[in-house]
Symmetry: C2
């Protein structure tokens, strides 16, 4: 199988957005065409074998997860998904692996509404690089800056599940029960909150997705906005599965510190809350924005507590 | 040094196209804004250590080369360069390496007029993935399809130099003389033919850049266009350095088969030639397009000859 046959067989899947995609796979560049009042949102993510996923990662799940992780950045800025490119580096062209990877990628592409418009395929240590594209009405992209004192601090859903899922994955054999299954599925198949991100356009004052962990990402949002993010620990939404499997204390640590949640974190003027919760019942208020800087964590007695060590850093 | 410090120190260089770049580094997505009648051209390239460049590649030259290779795809479609993202996977955050790599990248970014708008930095086997963005007036992008019988077949400059340069690089120690220096510099610092690509918009009937080797890429262009590409071997432009160092036969083999030339290959209605050669004196006619399919190679007697094995294939 040549590189060209490989692309044709596994990665030539149809484009859901014909209108914006003037040219897809097969030429030197793909061409995108946006409406005059739209901006293009772009984000690139690498996934490295042994760092971002285990060596024996099931290819179907890896295909789903790699695109979900990348697409979450589109959700974070409120973009409508358009397309993506995939640079796939593989030790060998194993057809079984490619078939399953392609199937998982295609499934997530369908869920997100993302067309595969280009890429590169070559031989080397397993490595994925995805670049995602979305459109956003001019000037309406959500940014990390913009949170103001008095805003509510909110998240789009349960925290810590993927951290728990990863911990389970690193045990061999992984436990099998419904709580473990749930946590593993949350690790492998995070669902980028694209609809929530689009709803928040023009309403949230700042937004991002949680990829480095709640505390670390609250610090990023607070720094970009020049404010202090105050988190009420008892308000953090923890799933029953996470609590059941790990107990209260470890569950809270996962929620605060584990990365890879891929739910949205945002600041919201209080008057927007009721409409938002009607539309998205999983959204939770976890604190508020106040003047100052950094992150303050309040325990169940309303007392500040020392935040645990937080945030993934590749080169620390 | 954390990942964030690394990005700030080495990859936060100023954007030459402020107008189109609504948001650069530091948020979840970058934002690009095109004029209403422009399309966005996008291309992704991976460069894998040990496959696309040697392990001991000098980081300054690697920085230059990696962006040049990616930008050549913008030249191929006639796009005006805008921006790029870089996903950089590194075994360790070595400051000397990063400083030199960043300096080379910045130099080529300045030459091409490309702003660094986003990326991802993580730990793992050395791997680069660059995604480049350009703009092109609606409907005017050059494509591989479109060559017609009677068109001239042209290239943007010398062929085979980079193949010769790579062969020298693989010898230890590399020869040192002015011919070798020239060939090595052509390998490390290909200059994407962006001005030529833009000139060819609305004039060339088909275009691409030579990355897999002349014969392989002529076959791609012929297939996409549904025509036959006829190459007159004596017309191929070979540099004095290549001829001097390798002799006539090997030089011709490099010109026909070695990849990585990154000069443009295009078909041109004959009436455009004189104006083109006034503007770009390095452009050469190497044959013509005729009805049929595939590639025909004519030797110095005008006789068809068997083409040598050609074209790089990652998974052959």
């Amino acid at each position: 199988m040549t590189e060209f046959e490989l692309i044709k067989r596994y990665f030539d899947f149809a484009a859901p957005h014909q209108e914006e995609i003037a040219l897809g796979l097969g030429d030197d560049c793909a061409l995108l065409q946006l409406a005059a009042d739209e901006q293009l949102a772009v984000s690139t993510d690498s996934l490295v074998c042994g760092v971002h996923f285990p060596e024996n990662a099931p290819p179907f799940l890896l295909g789903q997860r790699s695109l979900a992780v990348a697409a979450s950045d589109l959700a974070a800025v409120g973009a409508s998904p358009l397309a993506f490119t995939l640079a796939l580096t593989l030790p060998e062209a194993c057809e079984d692996w490619l078939r399953e990877f392609s199937r998982g990628l295609k499934q997530m592409a369908g869920y997100c509404g993302l067309a595969l418009i280009g890429g590169d395929t070559c031989r080397g240590p397993l490595h994925l690089c995805l670049t995602v594209f979305g459109s956003v009405p001019q000037g309406q992209a959500l940014k990390r800056s913009g949170a103001r004192a008095g805003d509510l601090l909110c998240v789009g859903g349960h925290l810590g599940d993927t951290g728990g899922g990863l911990a389970l994955l690193q045990k061999a054999p992984a436990p099998t029960n419904s709580a473990a299954d749930y946590l593993l599925s949350r690790y492998w198949t995070p669902m980028p909150q694209l609809a929530l991100g689009q709803w928040l356009r023009g309403k949230a004052s700042a937004a991002m997705d949680i990829s480095d962990g709640l505390l670390a990402d609250c610090a990023h949002l607070a720094e970009a906005s020049g404010v202090c993010a105050l988190i009420n620990e008892p308000l953090l939404p923890l799933s029953e599965a996470l609590l059941e499997h790990f107990g209260d204390k470890a569950a809270m640590d996962y929620a605060l510190c584990a990365g890879d949640d891929y739910v949205l974190l945002f600041s919201l003027p209080p008057e927007q809350l009721s409409r938002l919760q009607q539309a998205f019942s999983h959204v939770c208020v976890i604190g508020h924005i106040q003047e100052g800087s950094g992150v303050v964590l309040l325990d169940s007695n309303g007392q500040p507590r020392q935040a645990p060590q937080s945030g993934w850093q590749h080169f620390r």
